[in-house]
Amino acid sequence: MIKTNTKSSLLGKNSDIRTVVVVTIGFVVAIVVAQLVMGLVSEGQLSYPSFISSVNILNILMQTAGVGIMAMGMCTIMLSGDIDLSVGMLVSLVAIFIAKGIRDWGIPLPTALILAILIAVGLESLMGLVISRFKVESFIITLGGSIAFRGIALLMCNSQEVTLTGQLNFFKTNLIEGATNTQGMSLTLPIYVIIFFAIFVIFWAVLKYTRFGRRVYAVGSNAQAAYLSGVNVKNVRLLSYALNGLCVGIAGILLLSRVNVGIISIGQNLEIDVIASVVIGGVALSGGKGNAVGVFIGVLLMGAISNAMNILRVQSEWQYFVKGVIIIVAVTGGAISEIVNARRALRLQEMEARALNGQKELQDTTTSQ
């Protein structure tokens, strides 16, 4: 699996990623063992666990691409200390706009796609503008945005689904056409998975190597200190939203190409999955902590969890429960390790202070004598 291959040098000294990686490896091993045991029980012999078959791994990538792209934008926003609850409905809006545009309004496909991305960037920037200039809570503004986008989306399609006839199939082009695995099952690696990887690499590089990336972290960690250190806090926050709009626009196109139907449910509750992936990937809700690699792993982990539960034929009701518990455990674990670290630091400082006071008292008594 890709995520288990992640080199330790890539992780650096970031303990959050380490936690996610450990959880991920543990999870994969657990599922493989479960499959082996179940195979042994039902068929009386060891068989290759389907969870780690190449077909299934590609499957997981296909299922997570949309959420993954959105998670990169959300990661930037959350690192700068904000949040965006509107991405789900914005995806629906984008998808419905494209479907309606190319089917009923006669907009040429390329124009429709560009317009869709521009709309997403525009709407996100608008929210970013309000949030950064008037210093309003991003939670509230994007919640309002989400509701409004739902309204616009439903108005555009008259609350009906807009079925396409495969106009967006380009994005599903199989790059490894004809390739099969050892059992002879054909493999698919659609273009949109590559787009997901490309966007991940771009965001990883932007956050890690550029001036803007460093400023995003600074704003999320301490906005006041960032301002006094010459960071244009308002513009950094605005730009994070604009970048997120770009991600949402692209994700909307890809999700539409997968299902071929412009429908409101395409993005429904997607923001929950996106935020969950980002949080599992080690980005602090308070901002300034985490990175794109962690989020990438978080996305794949969330995807793998759903996929594994489907393979193991876990009832869908239970799937929700398990996912929820995993999020809670993962994040609480991170918080606990943070508290432990903070305590250790505090104890160190106290010891220093005590040693110093002791010295001073000694001086006082010797001088008074």
Binding site: Y209, R211, R215, S221, N222, L228, S229, G230, V231, E350
Partner: protein
């Protein structure tokens, strides 16, 4: 004194790195107005926080209330009848006077129903006693600052408190309101209530004090009847320190003017004019709240300028935000490093490079470069950390302050504003910071230093500008700098 309502015996309080109070003995008689005087950091606030129960004293001290030894926490202090009225209003602006007084302590009938009539009557009685002109039903948010203070005093009257602590009660009041408040305080004391009154304004102190206690560096210097002491003697007792508290530095001949303010107005300060030259430290002294930090924010473009002109290296500038100021080689080491200076959950490297992003032209570089820059400063400034990937939150106060310095040194600044450069750091690190500041002067940089630490101001400054109530109240050249002269200008008493 057996009839004292409150006695403190041998009270000390130690914080990490500093002894705030040392073996204080203090007594308070019913019906007296007892003023506590001292400079910033003398221990006044710590003392009242111990009396109001917010802090616990070190082991070995005793607190006796009406003859009974007791342990004070905020709740028992309240139950015993000690009420503290802080500088900031502790009120609910949308509630009426009556509701504010009885909030949390409502009088109820047997069924648990609030008895509004009785509460209102009691409030009215107290307001009448204090000669207040507003009704018990007035909404407190609509009252003046002075009237808000009266509401809090009325509360003490209603609940028959025995001790009232007033911390800088006149800070935001007009002259006529101050007169009114002082009359009320006297009246309350005549009713047998003991009052602890803290104020920087010595004229007020002499108008109402029965007794005065002077604190200095956490020690009690004296307690005496107000009529037995005059203002010059009082000031002399507030100042005067050990020579060891002073740092002796090298002086250089100041060079060209690099910063000049002409009638600068805005952010709560008015008509500020001064010049800063290369190779000198201009100290800004004054009481807390005199507008020094506000002025620094204005210089850095972090607050809006309403008038006047600012020249940096001869160029007239109009900073819209701090990044403009950084481009003009200005540096701002803020007062509160944790809230406005550092990114505690980031590495030393990240903290070091952040301010210089303004000057950096490249868009794309490897984080290892940041680490390298950070490591350089670890060596240069003797920061105690293995390497610059260590999180700043894990460093001690002195080392954190050095990281702030590293951040600004990395911008290649020329003009350094130090706001309380050594607050909350230990003696050893203090000396190091002073040495670093003198090194800056050697490199022909200019320094503006805001400090409430008297020895620091005196031993580090080439010149001292004293501020009071948002204006410059005096400027002292190096040979005129003394604790007396600085205090004189900052509290505005008569000539000594």
């Amino acid at each position: 004194m057996s009839n004292a309502v409150l006695e403190l015996k041998n009270i000390s309080k130690t914080f990490p790195g500093v002894k705030a109070l040392s073996k204080i003995n203090f007594d308070l008689l019913p019906g007296e107005v007892h003023c506590i005087c001292g400079e910033n950091g003398a221990g006044k606030s710590t003392l009242i926080k111990i009396i109001s129960g917010a802090y616990q004293p070190d082991a070995g001290g005793r607190i006796v209330f009406e003859g009974n030894p007791c342990l004070l926490n905020p709740r028992t202090a309240m139950e015993l009848g000690i009420q503290t009225i802080y500088q900031e209003h502790n009120i609910f602006p949308h509630l009426s006077v009556t509701e504010n007084i009885f909030v949390g302590l409502e009088i109820t009938n047997k069924g648990g129903v609030i008895n509004r009539g009785e509460m209102r009557a009691k409030t009215e009685e107290a307001l009448e006693f204090l000669h207040c002109k507003f009704s018990p039903d007035a909404i407190v948010g609509e009252l003046s600052s002075g009237q808000k203070k009266l509401v809090e005093i009325a509360k003490a009257m209603v609940f028959r408190r025995k001790v009232i602590i007033l911390d800088e009660p006149t800070a935001s009041l007009s002259m006529s309101e101050i007169d009114m408040l002082l009359d009320v305080v006297k009246k309350v004391a005549q009713a047998g209530i003991a009052i602890i009154y803290i104020s920087h304004h010595l004229d007020e102190v002499f108008r109402i004090a029965d007794r005065i206690t002077v604190l200095r560096d956490g020690h009690k210097i004296l307690t005496c009847d107000a009529k037995d002491i005059d203002e010059p003697t009082l000031v002399r007792n507030m100042v005067g320190r050990d020579v060891s508290a002073f740092y002796s530095r090298e002086y250089f001949t100041p060079g060209e003017v690099v910063l000049e303010a002409k009638n600068l107005t805005g952010n709560g300060v008015k008509n500020i004019s001064f010049k800063v030259r290369r190779g000198e430290i201009v100290g800004f002294a004054g009481m807390v709240g005199s507008g020094r930090s506000e002025l620094m924010a204005l210089l850095m473009g972090a607050a809006e300028k309403h008038g006047g002109e600012l020249f940096v290296m001869g160029e007239k500038v109009d900073f819209k935000n701090p990044s403009d100021a950084i481009r003009h080689k200005m540096c701002f080491i803020t007062e509160d490093r944790q809230y406005t200076g550092l990114f505690l959950n980031h590495s030393i490297a990240r903290n070091t490079i952040i301010a210089n992003l303004v000057n950096r032209k490249t868009l794309f570089w490897h984080p290892n470069e940041d680490i390298k820059v950070g490591n350089e400063y670890i060596k240069k400034l003797n920061i105690k950390a293995n390497d610059s990937s260590v999180l700043v939150g894990n460093l001690s106060g002195g080392n954190q302050q050095k990281v702030v310095l590293a951040k600004w040194f990395n911008t290649n600044g020329e003009i350094f504003i130090f706001d309380e450069p050594t607050r909350g750091i230990d003696v050893g690190a203090k000396q190091e910071i002073y040495k670093i500041m003198v090194d800056l002067l050697k490199q022909n940089k200019a320094i503006i230093m805001v400090s409430s630490d008297m020895p620091e101001v005196i031993s580090m400054s080439d010149r001292v500008i004293v501020m009071r109530n948002g204006v410059i109240s005096g400027e002292l050249s190096r040979h005129d700098i003394s604790e007396e002269s600085i205090l004189q200008y900052s509290i505005g008493g008569s000539k000594i």
